[in-house]
Symmetry: C2
Subunit: 210 residues, 2 copies
């Protein structure tokens, strides 16, 4: 089993490294990061060495696509990574996304008629790609699994770990990461966050998209 | 305000990149990764470029120490990183850890008489360093904040974000990362995990420590 996690400059670090904790060490799985180009890739204060280029690989068993502001832009404008996803998706057993990585799946045609979720800010935009937006944290539709924003990738990865490796193994993974969350605040979704906080954040995302 | 996150080969990726999402972009804060040596540092399938060596810096406002199996070993056996923590701690406003990073704080003398937590597997070992082990997910004792295992770093970082930048900003950070967790299983702590799963994982950690 080969797992590929697709990275790009500006990807949201936690979108990738939440799921990595579970999916990077699945038994019997070969895991690699892949990006448009091999070599150093920067997002925020993080510079990673990416070992595999999209030119080197055209199939995998499990594809994981994290998000970030650039994912929204690439989905809207087109990008070689979108073309690559379109090519790889028919070869996968599972095609998955975290946060706005779902929009990249959408632009690649993966979500046509598929129930899906993404970060709350971009949720309505899923419909532009033919998806059926579902207001859930993790959505499984056939072989396509999408997660809501950022931290939802951890829930998605545990869901997928249970499907691939069984309940005992998934429980061990959850226990290893001591994932019994206790958020100190209750603002993790616009349903619970103060309206002014949601409006401020929405305006910030709007301005980042220009 | 200067924030340093201390890395070492084999650190647990999510210990660092959960908190990074909140603490890497605090307003008015300069954030850097630091390690024993500048340059590439590998943990699992991740190779990062570390920009700052411990030889280059002897103070900061916020220190974050993630964990991993090597943290347990360095704490037990001694290591230049432990000496560096001992030197830097008196200069900080906040000294923090995630997971077994707490044992490194302990070995550096930071936890003497201090209430603290760490990953469930290493919890009792805190007392070896003079700490008062507390069975909580995030423990604040004066300027020292410790988190339980791996994913608890996210809760710690939000707690600290609220203290540093205020409730509105911390709520925006939680909303940005859509942190309204829904674990698909209930095995995040030995209190809830099946005993056989806990025993299996404990044996695996034991074997990694040789």
């Amino acid at each position: 089993m080969r797992t590929l996690m697709l990275l790009f400059p500006g990807f949201t670090v936690l979108d990738a490294f939440g799921p990595y904790h579970a999916l990077g060490m699945l038994p019997g799985s070969e895991f690699d990061f892949v990006a448009e180009h091999r070599g150093p890739l920067t997002t925020g204060k993080v510079t990673l060495e990416v070992p595999v280029s999209i030119d080197d690989v055209d199939s995998c068993d499990l594809l994981v696509v994290p998000g970030g502001i650039p994912a929204i832009v690439m989905a809207r404008d087109g990008h070689p990574l979108i073309d690559w996803i379109r090519q790889v998706h028919p070869t996968t057993t599972w095609t998955t996304s975290v946060c706005t990585g779902a929009l990249m799946l959408g632009a690649a045609g993966v979500l046509d008629g598929v129930r899906a979720t993404t970060h709350w800010y971009s949720h309505a935009e899923l419909a532009n790609y033919g998806a059926i937006p579902v207001d859930e944290r993790v959505v499984v539709d056939g072989k396509v699994i999408t997660a809501a924003g950022v931290s939802a990738g951890i829930d998605m990865a545990l869901t997928l770990t249970e499907m691939i490796a069984g309940t005992d193994y998934a429980q061990a993974t959850q226990l290893d990461m001591e994932y019994s969350p206790e958020p100190p605040l209750d603002a993790g979704h616009p349903r619970t966050a103060p309206a002014a906080v949601t409006a401020w954040l929405r305006a910030m995302y709007d301005s980042m998209l220009g």
